[in-house]
């Protein structure tokens, strides 16, 4: 069944159809929540809440990108969680990557994989230092690969705001990574070359 059929079935109260949609998008939704909240448990809660809200609000989905709609819901859920619990994003040093054979590691040496995990936890800590708006914009753009228009839609704001949030967010993260210096694996260190 394609996405539109599954959505139509969900509108008729078919939870099994919605479960199929969940399976399609839970990876992306969980990743976004994880990068925003920086905590596995909080991300799981936000993901589950987001899918439940989406199921209940399926009648309000007016077409367009379903994934974008889901991303918007989970972004709001994460915002709420940050606001409600005043939860400072916690970054566990041992960020959990549960798949024993993750899809990206198919042709990857174990060492390279380990290095990327290290990079992952350092960037996660860097993200945690950013204000939520910048962090969300950054994750949506550079991890989820959304366009500026899509980010504006997900965050409920305009293009100008997206641009400035991204610009500031990236600059802040860059400064954080530069400050880490040798903590980063050599191949991931930011290289400052002098252009004269």
């Amino acid at each position: 069944m394609d996405e539109a059929t599954l959505i139509a079935a969900t509108r008729q109260g078919d939870t099994q159809a919605f479960d199929q949609l969940v399976r399609l998008y839970q990876g992306a939704i969980y990743n976004l929540a994880y990068r925003i909240l920086g905590d596995e448990e909080a991300a799981s809660d936000a993901t589950q809440d987001a899918f439940l809200s989406a199921y209940k609000a399926i009648g309000k989905f007016r077409g367009g990108s379903f994934k974008g709609w889901l991303l918007r819901i989970v972004t709001n859920t994460c915002y709420d969680q940050l606001r409600r619990k005043k939860r400072q994003p916690t970054t566990s040093l041992e960020a959990v990557y549960l798949d024993s054979a993750p899809p990206w590691a198919e042709n990857e040496e174990p060492e390279e994989y380990a290095l990327r995990q290290e990079l992952g936890s350092i960037i996660q800590r860097g993200l945690a230092t950013l204000p939520p708006e910048q962090r969300i914009a950054l994750v949506l753009s550079d991890i989820q690969g959304l366009s500026y228009e899509e980010i504006a839609e997900v965050m409920g704001t305009n293009l100008g705001t997206v641009k400035s949030r991204l610009n500031r967010g990236r600059a802040n993260l860059r400064d954080y990574l530069l400050a880490q210096g040798e903590l980063l694996p050599p191949r991931y260190r930011l290289k400052i070359e002098s252009h004269t």
Binding site: F51, L52, P102
Partner: protein, 253 residues
């Protein structure tokens, strides 16, 4: 003047670099950035480190969800009658609650209040009547209470069929099996017995009868209400069970 212009341009370009990397700048702004980059090493370096940052973000490994987030086990299917079920269940619970409260009040009336309104009649017999004599006189009047009680019991048997018995009746049945408590010399009773102004006996008895009759009238209204509530409870409960059965059948295809 020229230098100030340069500084404001530098600041502006700094703000545009991120969008420039993403190719999200309109052509005139992109040209401005490119022109500025040729002269400004700081901005060039800035651009380079920003590019590396973006590239690192893009290399970030995806995390695997620790579990599945499917929802079908969390929600009951939304059906047109799903809300009806909630309301029905609520109404049934409300009817049961009201019925319980009424029955409890009824019981309280029978065992605590009814004996008292029948009892004061013998009080006016003599101003000097002792407490012990009031106790002796009392049983003469208790038949009024007894009659009322018997009548109530008779009505109850008619109105309350078996099913409800599970919830509310055992206590009442137990109560009915016990002998009607004898009126005890309450403080008012003692006070009435010692009153220096005795009313004529007939008047006292008439008063007592009137009170008992009034009590009976309000009792029968109560019975009617209890019967109606019980009927409502049965109908609502039946409807709730039916809807629930349909829901269960729908859920397991």
């Amino acid at each position: 003047m020229f230098k100030r212009f340069k500084r404001s341009e530098h600041k502006r370009v700094e703000e545009l670099l991120s969008a420039y990397i993403d190719g999200e700048l309109p052509i005139e702004e992109a040209t401005l950035v490119e022109k500025h980059l040729r002269d400004c090493s700081a901005c060039t370096q800035n651009l380079e480190t920003l590019r590396q940052t973006v590239s690192l973000m893009q290399q970030l490994p995806a995390v695997s969800p620790p579990r599945s987030f499917t929802i079908s086990h969390l929600v009951a299917p939304e059906r047109p009658w799903a809300w009806g079920y909630v309301y029905l269940r609520g109404a049934t619970a409300l009817a049961a609650l009201l019925l319980t409260v009424l029955l409890a009040g009824d019981l309280g009336f029978q065992y605590l209040w009814a004996p008292r309104i029948a009892a004061p009649a013998p009080a006016p017999v003599e101003a000097t009547v002792e407490t012990s004599e009031a106790e002796i006189e009392a049983p003469i009047e208790t038949p009024t209470a007894r009659e009322a009680f018997d009548l109530m019991e008779a009505q109850k048997v008619e109105e309350t069929p078996a099913p409800l018995a599970e919830a509310t009746l055992p206590a009442e049945r137990l109560g009915a099996a016990l002998p009607s408590p004898e009126p005890t010399p309450t403080p008012e009773l003692v006070a009435a017995a010692e009153s220096p102004l005795p009313l004529p006996i007939a008047e006292g008895r008439a008063y007592a009868t009137l009170r008992a009759e009034r009590a009976l009238v309000s009792l029968s209204t109560l019975r009617l209400l209890e019967g109606a509530l019980f009927g409502a409870f049965l109908i609502l409960g039946g409807a709730t069970a039916l809807v629930r059965w349909r829901r269960e059948r729908y859920r397991s295809p």
